[in-house]
């Protein structure tokens, strides 16, 4: 590092001569550099309101920076924690939730809006009704589609949002649903300012609400230049501890190579999605740290349990034992994934390790096949996705490796693939023997891994790739979402995972890892296991860094 500094001074000296000007290099880093953070994001946000766009880029740019939600999810304790709501309770057998709201929460004061009041129940009613009620004056503003709420069915589940008094709100549900709170704690049900919305409506510019955003979050909006940058400033009146950094800049850099170069030249403090094949090289740079987080996804191999011989659980278990998953994870993900030990990722609070039944054991596989009457093996199809997904970067290659493993136990496998849309349509029609596919969860609730994938209802909608309908398993899932106590739910999900262990409608393969690279002087920017990135706790320590150097 000493060499490097000397070079810098030399270069600066040379510059001074070339331009005939005098300048001085300060000993301490300049204040704007010390107090600001540059995040080189991978693209432009579609909107400054995550209600309208569920893409990762929009969420990373807006949700945790500009806004707050009623409740948050704490991945450490795996519990819901108060945010804009200080208390909440389920009433009427779980069909009504009463939220007590936090007082003295200020909305952003910016060049384009000065709030006259603090946050109250009107803002909650406005923010929910915008996506809930088609007749709401703001419902159709800026597109009028609310992907997260449609996908999770939240727009059907909630029947009414009622203001009880200035700091109490009731949300009524069509039926009890214990995944409701988990959905509320995602990045999407953010709270907007009803006062600002009314002001813009009066001015005749309702579209400004998502272009010049106002929220209660740790940062406030300053400017957005498409393809160049987004600039946020610290919200000095934030109801939690205001952020340490004063300025947050998103430097928009879609090219992954350029993102990496900019990290090396210290033009970026933090970059998302570094190139997977450059990770080793990057982690060897002394000033750069690479963070990783198992994201809530799973790649799996589902057996069509309505096609013989896959209706026999012994055959399914035999095939699971035949696959060397550890080798697959190494070859397909270059080690950038965790071997799945259950369908749930280990970050979930309902996770149970049921790995024993998926252990690589060809001898046991052959024994099980013999027991099921297939001593001489059989031939089958493996459908492999034609596209890359976060959970599986190369399904075709994975199928080839499995083909070799299966041959060891006497099973002849053929690899089948179609164009992606055709592939999914024919899958939904149940034409496959088995398929390599996966799932990316929307929220922290374990329900999101079970009901959409393995319930009898999902067989009908075509998202149950195993076409597996097990009455007792289904009852467990229904029981789990009608109970509210997390410990009791965890016990039910433990039982559910035991059922999966015995029945094996699918073989979980891997949970892939999401990466982020950053300078070593950046602290407090963690990769969240669920949802978007947050800079609330970010800090930058250039001074200490300078002292470290000889």
């Amino acid at each position: 590092m000493r060499e490097l500094l000397a070079h810098q001074r030399l270069a600066l000296g040379a510059l001074t001569i070339v331009f005939g000007l005098t300048g001085c290099q300060p000993d301490t880093p300049p204040a704007p550099l010390q107090n600001g953070l540059i995040y080189c994001s991978e693209g432009n946000p579609e909107s400054f309101n995550p209600q309208l766009d569920a893409s990762g880029t929009t969420v990373d740019a807006t949700a945790a920076q500009l806004y707050d939600r009623l409740i948050d999810y704490d991945p450490e304790s795996k519990r819901f924690v108060p945010a804009l709501a200080t208390k909440w309770q389920a009433l009427d057998n779980g069909t009504r939730y009463r939220f007590t709201l936090r007082q003295h929460v200020a909305f952003h004061k910016t060049a384009y809006f000065t709030p006259s009041r603090t946050f109250n129940a009107d803002d909650v009613v406005f923010s929910f009704n915008r996506w809930l009620k088609a007749s709401h004056p703001y419902h159709d503003v800026n597109g009028g589609t609310y992907p997260f709420f449609t996908a999770t069915g939240l727009d059907k589940l909630i029947t009414d949002v009622e203001r009880i008094n200035a700091y109490t709100v009731d949300i009524k549900l069509a039926r009890p649903d214990s995944s409701f709170l988990a959905n509320l704690a995602t990045d999407f049900p953010i709270i907007l300012s009803a006062e600002y919305a009314q002001q813009q409506l009066d001015k005749g510019h309702p579209e400004n609400i998502d272009r010049f955003p106002i929220g209660t979050g740790p940062f406030k909006f300053v400017e957005y230049r498409k393809d160049i940058l987004i600039r946020y400033l610290r919200n000095e009146n934030y109801w939690r501890q205001p952020p340490e950094i004063e300025q947050l800049v998103y430097s928009i850099t879609p090219n992954a190579n350029k993102r990496m170069l900019k990290l090396l030249t210290r033009e970026c403090d933090v970059i998302p999605y570094p190139l997977v094949n450059e990770l080793t090289a990057m982690s060897q740079e002394e000033n750069i740290r690479v963070l990783s987080e198992v994201s809530p996804n799973v790649a799996f191999w589902a057996f069509n349990t309505q096609h013989p011989p896959f209706d026999d659980p012994r055959v399914r278990r035999a095939l699971s034992h035949a696959i060397n998953r550890a080798a697959i994870v190494q070859a397909i993900y270059f080690g950038n994934a965790q071997l799945a030990r259950s369908i749930l990722p280990p970050t979930s609070w309902a996770y149970t390790d049921v790995n024993a039944s998926y252990q690589y054991d060809p001898a046991k596989a052959r024994a099980l096949l013999k027991e099921a009457g297939y001593a001489n093996g059989f031939s089958m199809d493996i459908w492999a996705m034609p596209v890359q997904r976060v959970y599986n970067p190369n399904a075709q290659r994975m199928a080839e490796l499995m083909q070799a493993d299966l041959a060891q136990v006497g099973v002849e496998a053929h690899i089948i693939s179609y164009e992606w849309n055709t592939f999914r349509r024919r899958l939904a029609e149940g034409e496959h023997d088995s398929v390599l596919i996966g799932w990316y969860a929307d929220n922290a609730d374990p329900d999101n891994f079970f009901r959409p994938l393995l319930s009898c209802a999902a067989v009908r909608t075509g998202s149950n790739r195993a076409n597996w309908c097990n009455k007792s398993f289904d009852e467990l899932l229904i029981k789990a979402i009608s109970v509210n106590d997390n410990d009791a739910r965890a016990e039910i999900y433990r039982q559910a995972q035991q059922v999966l262990r015995e029945q094996q409608p699918l073989l979980p393969i891997a949970h892939s890892v999401r990466y982020q690279a950053q300078q070593d002087y950046i602290h407090g920017v963690k990769l969240p296991p669920y949802g978007g990135i947050s800079f609330r706790n970010a800090s930058k320590d250039l001074v200490k860094k300078a002292e470290d150097k000889p």
């Binding site: 331009f19 600001g36 300025q247 030249t265």
Partner: protein, 320 residues
């Protein structure tokens, strides 16, 4: 001179007029962008809109094109002028020194270095400099005009001017930061004209040194320095200045690439982006302004050349 100026100026206007026809017809080459019918009437409407400064609205950002145009042009003017300046400041002395020491080691070195520099493609040179001076040595920044944490409002687009106009408390730091961002693109951009100008300057000086009046002056006992300054240099500059317009056109072509590689604000990167995004209003006006700017510079260089070296005018009017 007045006659010559008028002639050049009329030619300039005529070329501009042809350009507007080209940009107007862009609308018919691309079926997605049908702004009007290919009639004389709609062309006249287009022409009058351009003359009134109404250049339309970007389809990608929804911003007013006229406003954006000046900012992008400002950035490109700053970058290209600095690059031209750098190439002149380096090329003139090197060319003269090489000519004065013809066939010496120095001369051979300069000539072959110039030849090598001329053969290096701009994008490759840029990558090389980035890897060496930005990634390996960590001296310079490689993207944008300035570290975005310095909140300098964009007024002219020329970042050094903007920093000086701003009332930022960190203006001097911001200025140096902007200079740091500028070093690599300016060097890359200067390389092509630099190598050409060295060779032109060297050949021109050799030509002049061979002239009888130089021999006469030397015979009168003038010192070598005085000889070069009073007699050789002014005359050797003439072919160099004649070439400046052409060199500037080459430089502008490279500015397009350089702005894209270094992610700099500028008319070149703006134009390239508009092509990718099929942003026709930007594409039309960007093309028009980019071409007009090159034409204008060429016009100015020619006028200066004709004014400074009257014999040129006579060459042009063979009938006199």
């Amino acid at each position: 001179m007045i006659r010559y100026t008028l002639r050049r100026f009329l030619l300039f206007l005529f070329t501009l007029w042809l350009l507007t026809i080209v940009t107007f017809s862009l609308g018919f080459l691309f079926p997605e962008f049908k702004h009007s019918d290919p009639t004389v009437g709609s062309y006249l409407a287009y022409l009058s809109a351009i003359l009134h400064g109404d250049w339309g609205v970007s389809m990608s950002t929804g911003q007013d094109v006229t406003e954006q145009l000046w900012i992008h042009l400002g950035a490109t003017i700053e970058l290209s002028f600095l690059a031209m300046l750098l190439s002149l400041v380096v090329a003139i002395p090197l060319g003269i020194l090489a000519a004065m020491n013809q066939r010496s080691m120095f001369d051979r070195w300069v000539v072959s270095a110039a030849m090598t520099g001329y053969s290096i493609p701009v994008f490759w040179l840029a990558q090389l400099l980035i890897l060496l001076f930005a990634v390996h040595y960590d001296w310079f920044a490689i993207t944008g005009q300035i570290t975005p944490l310095y909140d300098i409002p964009t007024r002219t687009g020329a970042v050094l001017v903007d920093v000086m106009l701003s009332d930022s408390a960190n203006a001097s730091l911001a200025f140096w930061d902007a200079v740091n961002h500028m070093v690599l693109p300016v060097i890359v951009l200067a390389m092509m004209p630099l190598t050409m100008l060295i060779r032109i300057m060297r050949d021109a000086t050799l030509d002049v040194l061979d002239k009888n009046y130089i021999k006469a002056a030397r015979a009168r006992g003038l010192s070598e320095l005085k000889l070069m300054r009073r007699h050789a240099l002014p005359n050797a500059m003439q072919p160099l200045i004649r070439q400046l317009g052409l060199q500037f056109s080459v430089l502008m072509t490279n500015a397009l690439l350089t702005e894209v590689i270094f992610n700099r604000l500028g008319i070149g990167s703006w134009l390239v982006k508009s092509i990718y995004e099929r942003d026709y209003p930007v594409l039309q006006s960007g093309l028009l302004v980019f071409a007009s700017f090159i034409l204008l510079i060429n016009l100015l260089v020619e006028l200066y050349h004709a004014w400074r070296y009257p014999q040129v005018r006579q060459e042009l009017y063979a009938e006199y």
